[in-house]
């Protein structure tokens, strides 16, 4: 019995999965954005949505570091405020896709037969529709907004998670411990939860990290098209699109939100690559998924 009392924490084969300079940079950048997203309202020098806090279309100055836009709003405050919807959209979308895609994939791989056929065809169908077309289709039905845009992106990402979950599940199904669990009288739910889910976690984690950047880019694109947060609120995509006409005369209006957006996507990309290198020794390239 004494062994139960001091059961040491097992040395799992998967430890904290990211190490190295690139990983540290990526983590630092993402933490930076998280801080902006959480503390943004307290950090901004001006209220991001308040009109005429300074002269209209003022270039970067000591008072307005990133300048002001056509309505006289402080650009720095708006760039900081836009971090929150940007992060939330990526996290919501990927969480949604991870949850649904994993359930579909495990069910298809584990139940097999007709279930597999039906679920796989459904996933193929989603995969066959061009991504942005599908997202915009969903958004025209549900209406725009942060949550709806996240769900739309999530639906687009479902097939990737479903396929990887199904493939990994099929591989695990061939292992004898699944047979052993069945002989032990364990039901399907137990086997899926205790045996399959933990053993397909690594590829799903990699997929999650990679898809964060995809989702981020997709959200900016949808926001650019006007499907993001409602207009007075700041959003990288909508800030860029509304500043298009000033691109030649007042370029800072496009440049600063673009830089903020690109750096965030880059950070997500780096995290994805680092995770994959650490968890999936077979692919040491940085090609997209």
């Amino acid at each position: 019995m004494s062994t139960v009392a001091h059961r040491r924490r097992p040395s799992r084969s998967v430890r904290w999965p990211v190490r190295g300079v690139v990983a540290n940079i990526a983590i630092f950048l993402i933490l930076f954005y998280v801080v902006l997203a959480v503390l943004g309202p307290y950090l901004t020098p001006f209220a991001p949505n308040q009109l005429n806090v300074g002269p209209r279309l003022s270039p970067p100055s000591a008072e307005h570091w990133f300048g002001t836009d056509a309505l006289g709003r402080d650009q720095l405050s708006r760039v900081v405020a836009a971090a929150q919807p940007a992060l939330l959209a990526a996290v919501y979308a990927v969480t949604f896709a991870l949850a649904i895609g994993t359930v579909i994939g495990i069910a298809a791989g584990f139940l097999g037969g007709l279930w597999d056929g039906a679920l796989s065809r459904l996933v193929d169908l989603l995969f066959a529709i061009p991504e942005y077309l599908l997202a915009i289709l969903v958004l025209t039905i549900m209406g725009s907004g942060l949550i709806n845009a996240s769900v739309a992106i999530g639906i687009v990402c479902i097939p990737r998670f479903a396929r990887i979950a199904r493939g990994s599940t099929l591989e695990i199904m061939g292992r004898n411990y699944i047979d052993a669990a069945r002989l032990c009288g364990r039901g399907r739910i137990w086997i899926m939860r205790r045996h399959i889910l933990p053993n397909i976690a690594s590829p799903l984690v990699i997929m999650t990290a990679i898809n964060l950047s995809t989702a981020e880019g997709a959200y900016a694109a949808l926001s650019f098209l006007g499907f993001g947060v409602r207009p007075p609120e700041a959003d990288y995509g909508s800030m860029i699109s509304s500043s298009q006409q000033y691109l030649l005369t007042d370029p800072w209006l496009v440049v600063f939100p673009s830089i903020a957006f690109v750096v965030l996507v880059l950070a997500f990309n780096l995290i994805g690559d680092v995770m994959r290198d650490r968890l999936d020794p077979r692919s040491r390239t940085s090609a997209g998924a």
Partner: protein, 337 residues
């Protein structure tokens, strides 16, 4: 004649088990075809006994193992397990039948500790009783309690197989399937594990079905041995008869190729090398299934399929010319008179 032994003594009763796997048809008009993995196997096994099943790859011995554990459902035939003769479909997952597989690394979940893996068989037992039974099982297979908190990758192959055995015995099943259970271990470990299995059987009276391609291991632990060829049992003999007096040419050929130490004092053994591959299990030969490779086959063998008949008490053979091929060569029927 009926029920010479009490019903409760039989823990495995297989009647004419058949397992065909349907193949995809080549076209709409093409005939339906299927792989005859197991074709009419009947076997009875008493508690405390070990039945060995030998045969080359693809002879259906592993499929037979999956049938008696309920991991596959038979195409036809009945399989009853346990002291009460419960059909396997009803007994599946109740812990009446357990299994130990060939590759212990694949039979243990890499993300479960040894204790968790063993306790998996104890679904109905909870709390302290559960911990106690796991400790007992660990001790029974010769592992100290410290092993309980380890993960499979921290164990050697032999230790992993011991954990698999502990999981198989912890819920006290009536029958354990040992599917190539020692084949992946090296020779000294094989001996250890076989010894362990024998000791456990003496203590608990569990029946084993021991499937292997390794004749020596099978012979060592089994009370009776069945030789399978292309989905059928071609010879079933008590272990004593297996040393001498095998009757089916395939069984004799198998036995003759077994590696042996020259100085064992046995008489000269002619190695009978079978030519060709076993015929396709999709369309088995019309006559004796072994006839295309049999060194002593005649026309009669190729056209009429032999039945499994009792040659001597407890010794079944499926051959038209039983006993004509022996380990020291072909015994001419006329020369023996």
């Amino acid at each position: 004649m009926t029920n010479v032994t009490p019903r409760s003594d039989i823990v495995l009763d297989v009647q004419d088990a058949v397992k065909h796997y349907a193949l995809r048809r080549r076209g709409l008009r093409a005939p339906r075809r299927s792989v005859h993995a197991v074709d009419g196997v009947s076997i009875r096994l008493h508690s405390g006994q070990t039945l060995g099943i030998v045969g080359e790859s693809g002879c259906g011995k592993s499929t037979f193992g999956r049938l008696i554990t309920g991991l596959e459902t038979p195409t036809s035939g009945t399989i009853r397990v346990g002291a009460h003769g419960v059909p396997i479909a009803a007994a599946h997952g109740t812990g009446t039948v357990q299994a130990v597989f060939q590759d212990p690394a694949s039979a243990l979940d890499p993300r479960m500790t040894v204790r968790e893996s063993i306790a998996e068989a104890l679904g109905k037992v909870a709390g302290r009783e559960r911990e106690r039974r796991v400790d007992e099982a660990l001790a029974a297979v010769g592992l100290t309690p410290e092993f309980g908190v380890r993960y499979p990758h921290e164990l050697s192959g032999g230790q992993q197989q011991r954990v698999c055995i502990a999981r198989a015995i912890v819920d006290r099943p009536d029958l354990i399937l040992l599917d190539e259970a020692v084949s992946s271990l090296d020779a000294s470990l094989q001996a250890q594990i076989l010894h362990l299995l024998e000791r456990l059987q003496q203590d608990t009276g569990t029946a084993y079905v021991f499937i292997s391609h390794d004749l020596r291991a099978v012979r060592q632990v089994s009370h009776s041995v069945a030789v399978m060829y292309l989905g059928q049992v071609v010879e079933q003999a008590p272990a004593e008869a297996f040393d001498r007096g095998l009757l089916h040419p395939y069984a004799v050929a198998l036995r003759s190729t077994e590696p042996r130490i020259l100085d064992e004092g046995t008489e000269h053994v002619e190695r009978i090398v079978l030519t060709g591959e076993p015929p396709s299990a999709v369309s088995p030969p019309a006559g004796c299934r072994f006839a295309p490779r049999c060194p002593i086959a005649e026309d009669h063998c190729r056209s009429v399929a032999p039945d499994l008949v009792e040659a001597t008490s407890g010794h079944l053979v499926r051959c038209h010319k039983p006993g004509e091929l022996t380990l020291s060569g072909v015994a001419r029927a006329d020369a023996e008179v």
